[in-house]
């Protein structure tokens, strides 16, 4: 795996408190509550901007990759597709992510989540239309045993693509 990494940090609330002291933790906790109570909407709006994502150190490598890589993220950046177009989440989900970040309750590099075909097919229409685009390939990856295979099994977004079929077919 070539997922972007940042230096490791201790995990869990304990680690966080140890690092930043109890007072700081309480302030941050209050801040989260405040956000939860009053600023969900503003936060939600702001979160559409990639530079918002880079506020968290753990996310920065993904943002850098989005702007400069040879991977799918950059192709989408050029096509004006934002982080949130692929990372569809609810305001509550976003808050949980912030909370997880603040408490250090996450893995580094982040554990990859699975993004369903529905997210990609919002823009890429259907497997049938994709199959037409790749009909020239010897083994059409968009017309296989599994008609609804998750796109990201092959198309990794922040790292090179993988060929799922290759475990059984060399061509």
């Amino acid at each position: 795996m070539n997922a972007p990494t940042t230096p490791p940090s201790p995990k869990g609330l304990k680690g966080f408190i140890a690092r930043r002291g109890i007072a700081c933790t309480i302030v941050i906790a209050l801040f989260i509550l405040l956000v939860a109570a009053n600023a969900v909407y503003a936060l939600w709006e702001a979160s559409y901007n990639p530079s918002f994502c880079s506020l968290c150190h753990i996310i920065r490598p993904y943002v850098d990759s989005y702007h400069t890589s040879e991977y799918l993220d950059n192709i989408h950046q050029q096509a004006n597709v934002g982080c949130k177009d692929c990372h569809v989440t609810t305001p509550i989900g976003a808050l949980q992510e912030v909370a997880a970040y603040v408490t250090g309750n996450y893995e580094n590099p982040l554990k990859e989540r699975k993004i369903g075909t529905d997210v990609c097919l919002k823009c890429h229409r259907s497997y049938e239309s994709l199959a037409e685009r790749t009909a020239h390939l010897n083994r059409n990856p968009h017309e296989s045993h599994w008609p609804n295979l998750r796109c990201t099994v092959c198309h990794k977004s922040h790292r090179p693509a993988e060929n799922y079929c290759a475990q059984c077919h060399q061509d």
Binding site: K114, N138, S144, H145, W146, P147, L149, R150, V153, A166, Q167, C168, H169, Q170, D171
Partner: protein, 508 residues
């Protein structure tokens, strides 16, 4: 005087004794499963019938259970449904089928049973094999008419005495995808990335649900979280074989180290079968593990070479590269051939000329096999020898000998079946060759079940609330499974298990 027992009395005594033993064994051997750990105080989810596995067997069971009125849940540990079934070749053995009728081929369930017992070395559990042969045609028609799967031709597989397999367009994925569609229409969702970890048994010894990992990612045993699913009527195990479970297969056949690849999907592992053993289920034929002797070490998975090799045997020789000589009946069964190759210890060579190849092998198989290098092309036999390090003089002499057998249509060394139109090797160069090294293909062994699909325990009694069907079960094929019979087995007994599971009375 008292010792003077009349013959009649004596016989009577025997009969009574017999009944008593039977009664005693029924008493001692209750219809019970062994406890496997605590029964959860709270279930996360429930259904009447919980089906584990989304291959032919599991989906057939789910459809029948649903149609019998049960609330059904179907889970699979992998992200993609379909197990081995969705990558299979789509050959379904059905005696008396519609193509046979069209072509005037006489066939019957009895003849198929005879073929199965012969290949199976009579180790087959005959009662179930009989049900299979009697219901196979009905099952194929159900797949065609009710499920809507498209078949397109009649095929022949070694060991059957007539061509009797009907083949699906696009292979097994045709049937699996149509079954998935049918389930969707019936309102049953298939839940992937849910792995069965434990069968839960209540105090009465009945299977009442499962412990599973929800959100499981194959290969990461810490992924996902534990959930408990209650099965009010029954659990149907349809978790397939264990060809890719290296530790488990080495217990039963220690030769099958990681040096052996497999044609199976990565999830063909045995933990669900073992979960049933842990609660007292009985297993059978576990060391009868079928290797595909037609597989190539030069390509992954099933590949192209089997489609080349199996079409040219009986037309072309197989050579031991160490000696330059033939070593086995090329048209013999999978077991004998695979064992012989393993004994040699290095990949062997199949070599055919253009005549035999073009006559039998689809052009795209050769084209694609050449492209990836699993099949190679040579202008002369000397080049073949050089490439594979075969001693040339011995090889040359052996080819001359083989060609003599071909002329006479009789193999005096190994009794290979030589086809009528076969011609001596070299009749039409160039030559095509491939290396062969067996891959683990099918596990004949598994859980003992009865004709109703119920799992049998160590006291020969059915375990209440537990059914199984498909490759996770054992006994029906005996020593060797014939081509196309796995599909028939899965659909016939999947349907039986599903129907009977739905007819169970819920646990108190």
């Amino acid at each position: 005087m008292s010792s003077k027992v009349s013959r009649k009395q004596f016989l009577k005594g025997m009969a009574v004794g017999g009944t008593m033993t039977l009664a005693a064994s029924t008493l001692a051997g209750c219809q019970k499963a062994m406890p496997s750990g605590p029964v959860p105080s709270k279930w996360d989810e429930e259904a009447d019938v919980v089906v584990v596995g989304t291959g032919f067997a599991g989906l057939a069971a789910a459809i029948e259970a649903k149609n019998a009125g049960a609330a059904v849940k179907v889970i699979d540990k992998m992200e993609t449904p379909g197990g081995n079934s969705i990558i299979n070749g789509g050959d379904f053995a059905a005696p008396g089928n519609w193509y046979q009728k069209e072509q005037g081929i006489e066939d019957s369930p009895e003849l198929m049973l005879k073929d199965m017992l012969k290949a199976g070395l009579n180790l087959n559990h005959v009662d179930r094999a009989k049900v299979l042969t009697e219901k196979a045609l009905e099952a194929a028609e159900w797949a065609r008419d009710y499920i809507g799967a498209e078949f397109y031709r009649l095929t022949f597989h070694g060991g059957h005495s007539v061509p009797r397999t009907v083949q699906l367009v696009k292979g097994g994925s045709e049937l699996i995808n149509k079954m998935l569609k049918k389930l969707q229409e019936l309102g049953v969702t298939v839940e992937t990335q849910r792995k069965l970890e434990r069968l839960i048994v209540d105090e009465a010894g009945r299977v009442v649900g499962i412990e599973a990992r929800d959100g499981y990612t194959f290969g990461d045993e810490t992924s996902g979280k534990t959930i408990y699913i209650k099965a009010k009527k029954a659990v149907v195990l349809a978790t397939g074989g264990f060809s890719r479970d290296i530790k488990m297969r080495m217990i039963h056949d220690p030769r099958l180290t990681e040096a052996f690849e497999s044609t199976n999907h990565p999830g063909a592992t045995g933990e669900a079968l073992r979960a049933a053993l842990k609660i007292g289920a009985m297993d059978v034929h576990m060391d009868w593990i079928q290797l595909g002797p037609w597989a190539s070490p030069d390509e992954p998975g099933f590949g192209y070479v089997p489609l080349f090799c199996e079409r040219v045997v009986g037309w072309a020789p197989m050579i031991n590269p160490k000696t330059g000589k033939r070593f086995i009946n090329e048209t013999g069964n999978r077991k004998v051939r695979a064992d012989a190759i393993i004994e040699i210890g290095v990949p062997v060579i199949i070599v055919a000329d253009t005549y035999a190849t073009e006559k039998n092998v689809p052009a795209n198989v050769i084209e694609n096999g050449l492209k990836i290098g699993a099949i190679k092309k040579f202008d002369t036999l000397e080049e073949v020898a050089k490439e594979y390090g075969i001693p040339w003089d011995a090889f040359k002499a052996e080819v001359e000998r083989w060609n003599q057998f071909v002329e006479n249509k009789k193999d005096e060394d190994f009794n290979c079946m030589i086809f009528q139109d076969a011609k001596p090797l070299g009749f039409q160069p160039p030559f095509y060759a491939a290396r062969l090294w067996p891959k683990v293909h099918h596990t004949m062994g598994g859980l003992v079940t009865d004709v109703n699909g119920r799992v049998i325990n160590q006291d020969f009694q059915p375990i209440p609330g537990l059914y199984a069907a498909g490759e996770v079960t054992g006994g029906i094929h005996g020593a060797v499974r014939l081509g196309g019979v796995a599909m028939a087995d899965c659909v016939v007994f999947g349907r039986i298990a599903g129907k009977n599971a739905a007819a169970e009375t819920p646990a108190a």
